[in-house]
Protein backbone atom coordinates (compact mmCIF):
# COMPACT_ATOMS: atom_id res chain seq x y z
CA UNK A 1 0.00 0.00 0.00
CA UNK A 2 1.18 3.46 -0.85
CA UNK A 3 2.31 5.49 2.17
CA UNK A 4 3.27 9.08 1.49
CA UNK A 5 5.08 9.13 4.85
CA UNK A 6 7.83 7.03 3.30
CA UNK A 7 8.22 9.35 0.33
CA UNK A 8 11.15 11.77 0.46
CA UNK A 9 11.35 13.11 -3.10
CA UNK A 10 9.16 13.69 -6.14
CA UNK A 11 10.56 13.59 -9.67
CA UNK A 12 8.59 15.42 -12.34
CA UNK A 13 8.40 14.88 -16.02
CA UNK A 14 8.46 18.48 -17.18
CA UNK A 15 7.40 19.03 -20.83
CA UNK A 16 3.66 18.51 -20.76
CA UNK A 17 3.43 17.65 -17.06
CA UNK A 18 4.66 20.93 -15.55
CA UNK A 19 4.90 23.32 -18.49
CA UNK A 20 2.61 23.84 -21.46
CA UNK A 21 5.17 23.57 -24.25
CA UNK A 22 2.69 23.65 -27.15
CA UNK A 23 0.87 26.92 -26.54
CA UNK A 24 4.11 28.55 -25.29
CA UNK A 25 5.93 27.64 -28.51
CA UNK A 26 3.04 28.67 -30.76
CA UNK A 27 2.94 32.05 -29.00
CA UNK A 28 6.71 32.47 -29.29
CA UNK A 29 6.64 31.65 -33.03
CA UNK A 30 3.71 34.03 -33.56
CA UNK A 31 5.65 36.86 -31.92
CA UNK A 32 8.75 35.96 -33.93
CA UNK A 33 6.65 35.96 -37.11
CA UNK A 34 5.15 39.35 -36.34
CA UNK A 35 8.48 40.99 -35.55
CA UNK A 36 10.05 39.56 -38.72
CA UNK A 37 7.03 39.99 -41.03
CA UNK A 38 6.76 36.26 -41.54
CA UNK A 39 3.49 34.39 -41.82
CA UNK A 40 3.14 30.68 -41.21
CA UNK A 41 1.06 27.91 -39.74
CA UNK A 42 2.92 28.02 -36.43
CA UNK A 43 0.72 25.38 -34.78
CA UNK A 44 1.62 22.93 -37.52
CA UNK A 45 5.31 23.81 -37.25
CA UNK A 46 5.26 23.26 -33.50
CA UNK A 47 3.38 19.96 -33.80
CA UNK A 48 5.76 18.67 -36.45
CA UNK A 49 8.73 19.81 -34.39
CA UNK A 50 7.52 17.92 -31.34
CA UNK A 51 6.69 14.87 -33.47
CA UNK A 52 10.35 14.68 -34.52
CA UNK A 53 11.41 14.38 -30.86
CA UNK A 54 10.67 10.74 -30.17
CA UNK A 55 12.30 9.19 -33.28
CA UNK A 56 15.44 11.31 -32.95
CA UNK A 57 15.78 10.50 -29.24
CA UNK A 58 15.14 6.84 -30.02
CA UNK A 59 18.19 6.79 -32.31
CA UNK A 60 20.30 7.85 -29.33
CA UNK A 61 18.62 5.31 -27.05
CA UNK A 62 19.30 2.51 -29.53
CA UNK A 63 22.91 3.50 -30.11
CA UNK A 64 22.36 4.55 -33.73
CA UNK A 65 23.41 8.08 -32.83
CA UNK A 66 26.13 9.06 -30.33
CA UNK A 67 25.02 10.97 -27.24
CA UNK A 68 23.24 14.14 -28.38
CA UNK A 69 21.48 16.60 -26.06
CA UNK A 70 17.84 17.51 -26.43
CA UNK A 71 18.81 21.07 -27.42
CA UNK A 72 20.91 19.61 -30.25
CA UNK A 73 18.13 17.19 -31.30
CA UNK A 74 15.64 20.07 -31.26
CA UNK A 75 17.91 22.23 -33.40
CA UNK A 76 18.58 19.52 -35.97
CA UNK A 77 14.86 18.70 -36.23
CA UNK A 78 13.98 22.37 -36.68
CA UNK A 79 16.55 22.82 -39.45
CA UNK A 80 14.90 19.99 -41.39
CA UNK A 81 11.46 21.60 -41.01
CA UNK A 82 12.42 25.12 -42.09
CA UNK A 83 12.10 24.70 -45.90
CA UNK A 84 8.53 23.40 -45.65
CA UNK A 85 7.64 26.57 -43.74
CA UNK A 86 9.62 28.85 -46.10
CA UNK A 87 12.07 29.74 -43.34
CA UNK A 88 15.27 28.46 -44.97
CA UNK A 89 16.71 31.99 -45.01
CA UNK A 90 17.09 32.14 -41.21
CA UNK A 91 20.61 32.63 -39.87
CA UNK A 92 22.38 30.20 -37.54
CA UNK A 93 21.89 32.65 -34.68
CA UNK A 94 18.18 32.91 -35.41
CA UNK A 95 17.87 29.12 -35.44
CA UNK A 96 19.65 29.07 -32.05
CA UNK A 97 17.14 31.61 -30.77
CA UNK A 98 14.17 29.56 -31.99
CA UNK A 99 15.65 26.42 -30.41
CA UNK A 100 15.92 28.31 -27.13
CA UNK A 101 12.14 28.80 -27.15
CA UNK A 102 12.15 25.47 -25.28
CA UNK A 103 13.97 27.24 -22.41
CA UNK A 104 11.09 29.68 -21.91
CA UNK A 105 7.86 27.73 -21.53
CA UNK A 106 4.92 28.70 -19.34
CA UNK A 107 3.90 26.50 -16.43
CA UNK A 108 0.36 25.11 -16.41
CA UNK A 109 -1.83 27.36 -14.20
CA UNK A 110 -1.71 24.92 -11.24
CA UNK A 111 2.02 24.21 -11.42
CA UNK A 112 3.67 26.94 -9.35
CA UNK A 113 1.27 26.69 -6.41
CA UNK A 114 1.23 22.90 -6.53
CA UNK A 115 5.02 22.71 -6.51
CA UNK A 116 5.31 25.30 -3.72
CA UNK A 117 2.95 23.22 -1.53
CA UNK A 118 4.76 19.97 -2.32
CA UNK A 119 8.13 21.58 -1.62
CA UNK A 120 7.18 22.08 2.03
CA UNK A 121 6.98 18.32 2.52
CA UNK A 122 9.21 16.75 -0.11
CA UNK A 123 12.32 17.34 -2.18
CA UNK A 124 11.18 18.23 -5.70
CA UNK A 125 13.00 18.25 -9.01
CA UNK A 126 12.65 17.44 -12.69
CA UNK A 127 13.45 14.10 -14.30
CA UNK A 128 13.07 15.13 -17.90
CA UNK A 129 14.70 14.31 -21.20
CA UNK A 130 15.83 17.93 -21.35
CA UNK A 131 19.53 18.61 -20.94
CA UNK A 132 20.78 20.20 -17.73
CA UNK A 133 21.26 23.75 -19.06
CA UNK A 134 17.82 23.69 -20.66
CA UNK A 135 16.24 22.62 -17.36
CA UNK A 136 18.23 25.23 -15.38
CA UNK A 137 17.14 28.06 -17.68
CA UNK A 138 13.55 26.84 -17.79
CA UNK A 139 13.46 26.80 -13.99
CA UNK A 140 14.78 30.34 -13.82
CA UNK A 141 12.29 31.56 -16.46
CA UNK A 142 9.22 29.75 -15.14
CA UNK A 143 10.12 30.16 -11.45
CA UNK A 144 9.39 26.53 -10.65
CA UNK A 145 11.44 26.53 -7.44
CA UNK A 146 13.05 23.10 -7.87
CA UNK A 147 15.14 21.84 -4.94
CA UNK A 148 17.47 20.16 -7.42
CA UNK A 149 17.73 19.74 -11.18
CA UNK A 150 18.54 16.64 -13.18
CA UNK A 151 19.25 16.71 -16.90
CA UNK A 152 19.48 13.74 -19.24
CA UNK A 153 23.11 14.64 -19.97
CA UNK A 154 23.99 13.85 -16.35
CA UNK A 155 22.98 10.26 -17.04
CA UNK A 156 23.75 10.30 -20.78
CA UNK A 157 20.54 8.33 -21.16
CA UNK A 158 17.01 9.23 -22.10
CA UNK A 159 13.84 8.07 -20.39
CA UNK A 160 12.54 5.42 -20.32
CA UNK A 161 16.04 3.93 -19.92
CA UNK A 162 16.55 2.42 -16.46
CA UNK A 163 19.68 4.52 -15.85
CA UNK A 164 17.69 7.78 -15.65
CA UNK A 165 15.31 6.64 -12.90
CA UNK A 166 17.80 4.59 -10.92
CA UNK A 167 20.76 6.99 -11.03
CA UNK A 168 18.44 9.83 -10.03
CA UNK A 169 17.39 7.86 -6.92
CA UNK A 170 21.01 6.93 -6.23
CA UNK A 171 22.22 10.55 -6.45
CA UNK A 172 19.43 11.53 -4.06
CA UNK A 173 20.61 8.81 -1.66
CA UNK A 174 17.13 7.26 -1.73
CA UNK A 175 15.63 3.87 -2.46
CA UNK A 176 13.24 3.92 -5.45
CA UNK A 177 10.33 3.25 -3.03
CA UNK A 178 11.07 6.61 -1.37
CA UNK A 179 10.55 8.44 -4.66
CA UNK A 180 7.42 9.28 -6.68
CA UNK A 181 7.60 9.81 -10.44
CA UNK A 182 4.98 12.36 -11.50
CA UNK A 183 4.01 12.43 -15.18
CA UNK A 184 1.24 13.11 -17.67
CA UNK A 185 2.51 10.21 -19.80
CA UNK A 186 1.73 6.60 -19.07
CA UNK A 187 4.92 5.25 -20.72
CA UNK A 188 7.02 7.18 -18.21
CA UNK A 189 5.11 5.78 -15.24
CA UNK A 190 5.23 2.22 -16.62
CA UNK A 191 9.01 2.49 -16.70
CA UNK A 192 9.31 4.18 -13.30
CA UNK A 193 7.07 1.56 -11.69
CA UNK A 194 9.08 -1.30 -13.22
CA UNK A 195 12.16 0.10 -11.46
CA UNK A 196 10.44 0.36 -8.06
CA UNK A 197 9.45 4.03 -7.94
CA UNK A 198 5.98 5.13 -6.89
CA UNK A 199 3.85 6.75 -9.56
CA UNK A 200 1.48 9.70 -9.88
CA UNK A 201 -0.49 10.45 -13.04
CA UNK A 202 -1.65 13.98 -13.89
CA UNK A 203 -3.77 14.12 -17.03
CA UNK A 204 -2.96 16.98 -19.41
CA UNK A 205 -5.65 16.36 -22.03
CA UNK A 206 -4.78 19.42 -24.13
CA UNK A 207 -1.00 19.06 -24.03
CA UNK A 208 -1.00 18.10 -27.73
CA UNK A 209 -3.83 20.46 -28.63
CA UNK A 210 -7.60 20.10 -28.88
CA UNK A 211 -7.52 16.80 -30.76
CA UNK A 212 -5.20 14.90 -28.43
CA UNK A 213 -5.87 11.16 -28.44
CA UNK A 214 -3.25 9.67 -26.10
CA UNK A 215 -2.63 9.87 -22.35
CA UNK A 216 -6.14 11.14 -21.76
CA UNK A 217 -6.47 8.79 -18.78
CA UNK A 218 -4.36 6.56 -16.52
CA UNK A 219 -3.40 3.27 -18.14
CA UNK A 220 -1.73 1.47 -15.26
CA UNK A 221 -1.99 0.79 -11.53
CA UNK A 222 -0.60 4.17 -10.55
CA UNK A 223 -0.40 4.97 -6.83
CA UNK A 224 -2.06 8.35 -7.31
CA UNK A 225 -4.18 9.91 -10.02
CA UNK A 226 -4.67 13.64 -9.44
CA UNK A 227 -6.45 16.31 -11.44
CA UNK A 228 -3.42 18.59 -11.44
CA UNK A 229 -0.38 19.50 -9.32
CA UNK A 230 -2.40 21.38 -6.70
CA UNK A 231 -4.64 18.34 -6.33
CA UNK A 232 -1.54 16.12 -6.10
CA UNK A 233 -0.25 18.28 -3.23
CA UNK A 234 -3.57 18.02 -1.39
CA UNK A 235 -3.73 14.25 -1.77
CA UNK A 236 -0.10 13.57 -0.83
CA UNK A 237 -0.09 15.86 2.19
CA UNK A 238 -3.44 14.42 3.38
CA UNK A 239 -2.03 10.91 2.98
CA UNK A 240 1.04 11.95 5.06
CA UNK A 241 -0.96 13.32 7.95
CA UNK A 242 -3.48 10.48 8.22
CA UNK A 243 -0.97 7.65 8.38
Amino acid sequence: MFRANEVKALLFDTFGTVVDWRSSLIEAFSQFGQSHQLAGDWSQLVDQWRAAYWPSMDKVRKGKLAWTTLDQLHRAALVKLLPAFKLEQLSADQIDDLTAFWHRLKPWPDARLGLALLKKHFLIGPLSNGNFSLMVELNKFADLGWDFIFGSDIFRHYKPDAETYLEACSLLGLRPAQVVMVAAHNYDLHAARSFGLHTAFIPRPTEYGPSQTKDLRPEGPWDIVAADLEDLATRLIENCSTK
Copy 2:
Protein backbone atom coordinates in the same frame (compact mmCIF):
# COMPACT_ATOMS: atom_id res chain seq x y z
CA MET B 1 40.53 42.00 -18.42
CA PHE B 2 37.71 40.67 -16.36
CA ARG B 3 34.25 41.64 -17.63
CA ALA B 4 31.34 40.59 -15.46
CA ASN B 5 29.02 41.19 -18.43
CA GLU B 6 30.33 37.99 -19.98
CA VAL B 7 29.73 35.96 -16.85
CA LYS B 8 26.62 33.79 -16.82
CA ALA B 9 27.13 31.52 -13.81
CA LEU B 10 28.93 31.45 -10.48
CA LEU B 11 30.12 28.19 -8.92
CA PHE B 12 30.68 28.20 -5.17
CA ASP B 13 32.90 26.12 -3.03
CA THR B 14 30.56 25.48 -0.13
CA PHE B 15 32.23 24.13 3.05
CA GLY B 16 34.06 27.14 4.42
CA THR B 17 33.13 29.53 1.63
CA VAL B 18 29.33 29.58 2.08
CA VAL B 19 28.71 27.67 5.31
CA ASP B 20 30.57 27.72 8.62
CA TRP B 21 31.10 23.98 9.05
CA ARG B 22 33.35 24.22 12.12
CA SER B 23 31.17 26.12 14.55
CA SER B 24 28.05 24.36 13.24
CA LEU B 25 29.57 20.94 13.91
CA ILE B 26 30.93 21.92 17.33
CA GLU B 27 27.46 23.17 18.30
CA ALA B 28 25.79 20.00 17.00
CA PHE B 29 28.20 17.77 18.94
CA SER B 30 27.72 19.85 22.09
CA GLN B 31 23.94 19.41 21.85
CA PHE B 32 24.40 15.70 21.15
CA GLY B 33 26.70 15.44 24.19
CA GLN B 34 24.23 17.22 26.44
CA SER B 35 21.26 15.10 25.40
CA HIS B 36 23.26 11.87 25.82
CA GLN B 37 25.17 12.90 28.98
CA LEU B 38 28.48 12.69 27.17
CA ALA B 39 31.36 15.06 27.74
CA GLY B 40 34.18 15.58 25.26
CA ASP B 41 36.47 18.04 23.58
CA TRP B 42 34.13 18.57 20.67
CA SER B 43 36.32 21.21 19.02
CA GLN B 44 39.17 18.77 18.88
CA LEU B 45 36.92 16.01 17.53
CA VAL B 46 35.63 18.32 14.79
CA ASP B 47 39.12 19.51 13.86
CA GLN B 48 40.47 15.98 13.69
CA TRP B 49 37.43 14.89 11.66
CA ARG B 50 38.00 17.64 9.10
CA ALA B 51 41.74 16.91 9.03
CA ALA B 52 40.94 13.36 7.89
CA TYR B 53 39.06 14.69 4.84
CA TRP B 54 41.92 15.59 2.53
CA PRO B 55 43.98 12.36 2.83
CA SER B 56 40.91 10.15 2.44
CA MET B 57 39.72 12.09 -0.60
CA ASP B 58 43.20 12.00 -2.03
CA LYS B 59 43.12 8.21 -1.99
CA VAL B 60 40.09 8.36 -4.25
CA ARG B 61 41.68 10.99 -6.50
CA LYS B 62 44.82 8.85 -6.90
CA GLY B 63 42.89 5.67 -7.60
CA LYS B 64 43.96 3.93 -4.37
CA LEU B 65 40.32 3.78 -3.29
CA ALA B 66 37.32 3.16 -5.58
CA TRP B 67 34.79 5.97 -5.91
CA THR B 68 33.49 6.80 -2.42
CA THR B 69 31.15 9.67 -1.61
CA LEU B 70 32.00 12.39 0.88
CA ASP B 71 29.27 11.12 3.22
CA GLN B 72 30.95 7.71 3.18
CA LEU B 73 34.42 9.20 3.68
CA HIS B 74 33.10 11.29 6.58
CA ARG B 75 31.49 8.27 8.21
CA ALA B 76 34.58 6.08 7.92
CA ALA B 77 36.80 8.84 9.32
CA LEU B 78 34.43 9.41 12.24
CA VAL B 79 34.36 5.71 13.11
CA LYS B 80 38.15 5.75 13.40
CA LEU B 81 38.05 8.76 15.73
CA LEU B 82 35.38 7.46 18.13
CA PRO B 83 37.61 5.40 20.49
CA ALA B 84 39.92 8.36 21.19
CA PHE B 85 36.86 10.32 22.30
CA LYS B 86 35.37 7.42 24.29
CA LEU B 87 32.44 7.14 21.92
CA GLU B 88 32.97 3.58 20.72
CA GLN B 89 29.61 2.53 22.20
CA LEU B 90 27.59 4.53 19.64
CA SER B 91 25.19 2.55 17.44
CA ALA B 92 25.35 2.48 13.65
CA ASP B 93 22.24 4.69 13.51
CA GLN B 94 23.84 7.19 15.86
CA ILE B 95 26.97 7.30 13.72
CA ASP B 96 24.74 7.94 10.69
CA ASP B 97 23.10 10.79 12.58
CA LEU B 98 26.45 12.34 13.48
CA THR B 99 27.64 12.02 9.87
CA ALA B 100 24.49 13.86 8.77
CA PHE B 101 25.57 16.87 10.85
CA TRP B 102 27.35 17.87 7.62
CA HIS B 103 23.90 18.23 5.98
CA ARG B 104 22.84 20.91 8.47
CA LEU B 105 25.47 23.63 8.56
CA LYS B 106 24.82 27.33 9.12
CA PRO B 107 25.61 29.84 6.38
CA TRP B 108 28.08 32.62 7.18
CA PRO B 109 26.11 35.77 8.14
CA ASP B 110 26.62 37.38 4.70
CA ALA B 111 25.83 34.27 2.63
CA ARG B 112 22.05 34.31 2.19
CA LEU B 113 21.79 37.98 1.26
CA GLY B 114 24.88 37.82 -0.94
CA LEU B 115 23.55 34.80 -2.84
CA ALA B 116 20.09 36.36 -3.20
CA LEU B 117 21.63 39.48 -4.76
CA LEU B 118 23.88 37.46 -7.07
CA LYS B 119 20.95 35.25 -8.13
CA LYS B 120 19.23 38.24 -9.73
CA HIS B 121 22.06 38.57 -12.25
CA PHE B 122 23.67 35.16 -12.54
CA LEU B 123 22.96 31.45 -12.29
CA ILE B 124 24.35 30.26 -8.96
CA GLY B 125 25.15 26.80 -7.65
CA PRO B 126 27.67 24.83 -5.60
CA LEU B 127 30.74 23.11 -6.98
CA SER B 128 31.76 21.28 -3.85
CA ASN B 129 33.31 17.95 -2.99
CA GLY B 130 30.07 17.07 -1.20
CA ASN B 131 27.89 14.40 -2.77
CA PHE B 132 24.65 15.41 -4.47
CA SER B 133 22.27 14.33 -1.69
CA LEU B 134 24.40 16.11 0.92
CA MET B 135 24.33 19.32 -1.12
CA VAL B 136 20.56 19.02 -1.74
CA GLU B 137 19.81 18.59 1.97
CA LEU B 138 22.22 21.34 2.97
CA ASN B 139 20.52 23.71 0.52
CA LYS B 140 17.10 22.88 1.95
CA PHE B 141 18.34 23.30 5.55
CA ALA B 142 20.36 26.48 5.04
CA ASP B 143 17.97 28.02 2.48
CA LEU B 144 20.76 28.96 0.10
CA GLY B 145 18.46 29.27 -2.92
CA TRP B 146 20.77 27.61 -5.46
CA ASP B 147 19.58 27.69 -9.09
CA PHE B 148 21.17 24.27 -9.61
CA ILE B 149 23.16 21.78 -7.56
CA PHE B 150 26.24 19.82 -8.52
CA GLY B 151 27.64 17.01 -6.41
CA SER B 152 31.00 15.31 -6.80
CA ASP B 153 29.21 12.00 -7.48
CA ILE B 154 27.80 13.48 -10.71
CA PHE B 155 31.38 13.74 -11.96
CA ARG B 156 32.80 10.87 -9.89
CA HIS B 157 35.78 13.15 -9.36
CA TYR B 158 36.88 15.40 -6.55
CA LYS B 159 38.24 18.93 -6.88
CA PRO B 160 40.84 19.89 -7.93
CA ASP B 161 40.45 17.31 -10.72
CA ALA B 162 39.83 18.95 -14.10
CA GLU B 163 36.67 16.90 -14.67
CA THR B 164 34.74 18.70 -11.92
CA TYR B 165 35.30 22.23 -13.27
CA LEU B 166 35.04 21.38 -16.96
CA GLU B 167 32.05 19.05 -16.79
CA ALA B 168 30.22 21.58 -14.63
CA CYS B 169 30.74 24.24 -17.34
CA SER B 170 29.75 21.76 -20.04
CA LEU B 171 26.51 20.78 -18.27
CA LEU B 172 25.69 24.48 -17.91
CA GLY B 173 26.26 24.90 -21.65
CA LEU B 174 28.88 27.57 -20.93
CA ARG B 175 32.49 28.21 -21.83
CA PRO B 176 34.80 28.32 -18.74
CA ALA B 177 35.32 32.06 -19.36
CA GLN B 178 31.59 32.58 -18.74
CA VAL B 179 31.87 31.07 -15.27
CA VAL B 180 33.37 32.36 -12.00
CA MET B 181 34.65 29.95 -9.34
CA VAL B 182 34.12 31.48 -5.88
CA ALA B 183 36.15 30.04 -3.01
CA ALA B 184 37.84 30.75 0.30
CA HIS B 185 40.64 28.36 -0.69
CA ASN B 186 43.50 29.30 -2.98
CA TYR B 187 44.09 25.73 -4.23
CA ASP B 188 40.56 25.64 -5.65
CA LEU B 189 41.05 28.91 -7.53
CA HIS B 190 44.47 27.85 -8.85
CA ALA B 191 42.81 24.80 -10.40
CA ALA B 192 39.77 26.69 -11.71
CA ARG B 193 41.98 29.36 -13.30
CA SER B 194 44.17 26.74 -14.97
CA PHE B 195 41.03 25.39 -16.71
CA GLY B 196 39.93 28.83 -17.93
CA LEU B 197 37.35 29.82 -15.32
CA HIS B 198 37.31 33.24 -13.72
CA THR B 199 38.11 33.36 -10.02
CA ALA B 200 36.84 35.16 -6.91
CA PHE B 201 38.48 34.84 -3.51
CA ILE B 202 36.52 35.37 -0.29
CA PRO B 203 38.71 35.15 2.82
CA ARG B 204 37.24 33.18 5.71
CA PRO B 205 40.01 33.70 8.27
CA THR B 206 38.20 31.84 11.07
CA GLU B 207 36.98 28.87 9.04
CA TYR B 208 39.46 26.60 10.84
CA GLY B 209 39.11 28.38 14.17
CA PRO B 210 40.98 31.21 15.87
CA SER B 211 44.47 29.91 15.05
CA GLN B 212 43.97 29.41 11.31
CA THR B 213 47.21 29.82 9.36
CA LYS B 214 46.28 29.11 5.73
CA ASP B 215 44.13 30.89 3.15
CA LEU B 216 44.20 34.10 5.17
CA ARG B 217 44.80 36.08 1.98
CA PRO B 218 44.70 35.71 -1.81
CA GLU B 219 47.69 33.84 -3.21
CA GLY B 220 47.13 34.18 -6.93
CA PRO B 221 46.04 36.62 -9.64
CA TRP B 222 42.34 36.23 -8.87
CA ASP B 223 39.90 38.33 -10.88
CA ILE B 224 38.09 39.49 -7.76
CA VAL B 225 38.92 39.58 -4.07
CA ALA B 226 35.89 40.45 -1.96
CA ALA B 227 35.40 40.74 1.78
CA ASP B 228 32.40 38.40 1.77
CA LEU B 229 29.51 37.31 -0.46
CA GLU B 230 27.58 40.58 -0.07
CA ASP B 231 30.69 42.46 -1.12
CA LEU B 232 31.15 40.07 -4.05
CA ALA B 233 27.59 40.85 -5.19
CA THR B 234 28.22 44.59 -4.99
CA ARG B 235 31.44 44.37 -6.96
CA LEU B 236 30.16 42.03 -9.66
CA ILE B 237 26.92 43.93 -10.21
CA GLU B 238 28.79 47.25 -10.31
CA ASN B 239 31.23 45.77 -12.85
CA CYS B 240 28.26 44.61 -14.98
CA SER B 241 26.58 48.00 -15.07
CA THR B 242 29.69 50.07 -15.77
CA LYS B 243 30.90 48.09 -18.79
